[in-house]
């Protein structure tokens, strides 16, 4: 694949985890499987989805991410057919879905509450969708066995949902939604009801499953970690609009706005003013730094005097006890204000002379540290010009 087609590469550099040879969104010739065309949904005075357009491609693992009430669930329910768009249209595989009832749409949904039929056994739950298509009995039985094997629930085929654990119920819900081999599988907060350990395992299982089945997955979640782990692309939503659609790597390393930068992961935001800019680099006057700050890899043209925000991820800041050698760019002096030890990482809050607190994280790569940092220690923080992101919105 050529560099031009792969949106996640910048020059010879790449960001995020790259699934090689899969980036249909960067291919202008690719035809999307799902198109939301200027879709608006209003409930009385409230606009849940606001003139939203979005393309999702075949075999994509796509995440709609946002806080509760941002319209992500409404968007998914419109695709499933439970809500009708007030304006605009939704096209699936070339077919306009307006007026098509949910039971005729080639999509299946895994509900947040799982919505398993309590009066039916596991196998009857899985067979339910297939029975609606009036498939031959033998074929239904084969497919049910196949699905049970896929989610490793063969011994539980005759149990009722009430006799299963939360994780097992989640698998039944998944198997039931997959049984009809839908064009798109919709997953509404699929891991929300699971505990942390199980959630992590299931994330990877879902990813494997999606690649194995070659299916298109659309996931709604408010959990950024979940979205970052699983998705090929993420759409970050806010107040019924999409703020950014990009790969997890781009979302994290090249957020489009302060909202995205702050919603995904931890970030330090410094207010500044452009002094000089050009050729992807710029110099900023930052109130919290005694000297101008230089940033590289600036995406958009900036004019001097413009008010901008500088986003710095905690793990990209370097914390030292000794003063860095002269000519090191972007050095801040401060004192350790607080320390949070997480095991794999340690979070340091460094108070600068201006009163601003910087969040710096450091991986604990060794078990023993010669000179551990402690509260009130004098320290220096610096970062490479490529580490900062200039945000204009």
């Amino acid at each position: 694949m050529s560099m031009a087609v792969d949106g996640r590469r910048r020059g010879s550099l790449a960001i995020g985890a790259v699934r090689r040879d899969f980036a249909p969104w960067a291919d202008p010739g690719a035809i999307p499987l799902i198109r939301f065309e200027q879709v608006t949904k209003r409930y009385g005075e409230v606009t849940a989805v606001d003139n939203l357009s979005l393309d999702i491609y075949e075999r994509e693992f796509f995440c709609l991410l946002g806080p509760s009430g941002c319209g992500k669930t409404t968007l998914m329910r419109m695709l499933a057919g439970f809500e009708a768009a007030s304006e605009g249209r939704i096209v699936l595989a070339g077919q306009d879905l307006s007026g098509v009832p949910p039971y005729r749409r080639p999509v299946n949904m895994m509900f947040q509450s799982y919505a398993l039929f309590p009066h039916m056994s596991v196998e009857r739950n899985i067979a339910f969708g297939l029975e609606q298509d009036r498939l031959p009995k033998a074929e239904i039985a084969d497919r049910v066995v196949e699905m049970l094997r896929l989610v490793q629930l063969e011994p539980f085929a005759r149990r009722r949902p009430s006799q299963l654990s939360g994780g097992q119920r989640q698998r039944v819900a998944l198997a039931r939604a997959l049984a009809k081999r839908p064009k798109v599988l919709l997953l509404d907060e699929p891991l929300g009801a699971l505990d942390k350990k199980l959630r992590e395992e299931t994330q990877f299982e879902l990813m494997d499953l999606q690649v194995k089945l070659g299916m298109t997955f659309l996931v709604v979640t408010h959990d950024q970690e979940e979205a970052m782990t699983m998705a090929d692309r993420i759409a970050v939503m806010d107040h019924g609009r999409i703020v950014q659609v990009a790969t997890p790597g781009e979302i994290y390393e090249q957020p489009a706005s302060r909202y995205v930068a702050e919603f995904i992961g931890d970030v330090n935001i410094l207010e500044g003013k452009v002094i000089a800019a050009g050729e992807g680099r710029c110099t900023l006057a930052v109130a919290d730094a005694p000297e101008p700050v230089s940033v590289a890899g600036v995406a958009e043209p900036l004019s001097p005097g413009r008010e901008v925000a500088l986003a710095l991820r905690p793990e990209k800041l370097v914390l030292t006890q000794e003063e860095p050698p002269p000519h090191t760019p972007n050095v801040f002096a401060g004192t350790i204000w607080d320390i949070g030890y997480l095991g794999d990482w340690t979070i340091y809050l460094v108070r600068l002379a201006s009163g601003k607190t910087l969040r710096v994280s450091r991986a604990n790569v060794t078990r023993f540290v010669e000179r551990p940092l402690s509260w009130d220690d004098k320290v220096f923080v610096h970062f490479a010009p490529e580490a900062g992101v200039v945000l204009t919105r």
Binding site: G81, F82, P102, Y103, N108, A115, H119, Q132, R176, K180
Partner: protein
């Protein structure tokens, strides 16, 4: 050695009192169900007499043990054999069961949509709707049945309305027919059908219907495959709450029904008050009770099995 902590000693009085708590419902049942039943059963085994009370023998403890034995030896199952021999009683029972069965089906057909609509109504409306269902209880049952006479009689409100609307030219002849009885029963018992159904449907998870639809099941089919099976406990409870009292219903067939409307409650009443044949009336009552205990036991059995399955 580990010693399990012993429950605090509440003393002999405390233990006696706590043993008494489960005894309360048993005593209640004994005094207000078993003893009256025994009395009625004893009367059923007696024979009518022109006396006070109007049956023989009467247990008289003043005659001593011999007198009691004498009285016992006079008891017989004659009245029960009479019930089998005279077709009036058999057809009264059958007619009662038929009317109760048809009424229950009608009640279910009318009550289910009402309960469903109530359960689907916006939450702030539900207490009001519930209140509207219960509201008729504020007025005497008897007065409400009398009111139906005013509506259904040939020169009543219904005929007048339909004639004025030009829908019919002759007054309706539904007073004193089975139709009037059905109308009265459905009207009177509707809350007993709606309330248990509403209680079940209100807890129903409507996402299940979305899930069914999502899996390719049209709404009408989802109703039969998801809503109805899951509403079954409410359906059974509502049907029993209506069927059992309707079988023994007396007031409605007496006031609204015609002379040919045969119901066991009426037969019982006329045996008791017109014929003053207390023993035969008691025999009818005992058979009625046994007949009605049947469905209750069956219902309990179904519920118990459902509960076991859920475990």
């Amino acid at each position: 050695m580990d010693v399990a902590p012993r429950p605090p000693d509440r003393g002999a009085l405390g233990r006696a009192l706590s043993a008494l708590v489960p005894a309360v419902p048993f005593l209640w049942l004994a005094f207000f169900f078993l003893v009256p039943f025994a009395i009625v059963f004893k009367i059923a085994l007696s024979e009518p007499a022109t006396a006070q009370p109007p049956y023989r023998p009467v247990f008289d403890l003043s005659q001593g043990f011999e007198g009691l034995r004498e009285a016992f030896s006079q008891l017989s199952f004659y009245n029960f054999t009479l019930l089998l021999e005279d077709s009036l009683y058999f057809s009264s029972f059958i007619s009662s069961l038929r009317i109760a069965a048809v009424s229950t089906v009608l009640l279910l057909a009318i009550g289910f949509p009402i309960a469903y609509a109530m359960a689907k109504a916006p939450e702030r409306w539900r207490p009001t709707l519930l209140m509207l269902v219960i509201l008729p209880f504020w007025t005497s049952f008897l007065i409400r049945v009398y009111a139906w006479i005013g509506i259904l009689k040939p020169e009543g409100l219904l005929s007048a309305l339909l004639i004025n609307l030009g829908l019919i030219s002759e007054p309706l002849q539904i007073m004193n027919t089975d139709t009037a009885v059905f109308i009265g029963i459905v009207y009177s018992y509707l809350p007993f059908m709606v309330l248990p159904l509403y209680a079940t449907l209100e807890k129903f998870d409507y996402t299940l219907l979305e899930a069914a639809e999502d899996l390719g099941c049209p709404p009408w089919r989802a109703f039969w495959r998801i809503t109805v099976p899951l509403a079954m406990p409410g359906v059974l409870a509502g049907c029993l709450l209506c069927f059992i009292p309707v079988v023994g219903e007396f007031v409605i067939p007496d006031l609204l029904g015609g002379s040919e409307t045969l119901m066991i409650g009426r037969t019982l009443w006329s045996e008791f008050f017109s014929n003053r044949d207390w023993p035969l009336a008691s025999a009818v009552a005992v058979v009625l009770l046994v007949l009605l205990v049947g469905p209750i036991v069956a219902y309990r059995d179904i519920e118990a099995r459902r509960w076991e399955k859920a475990q």
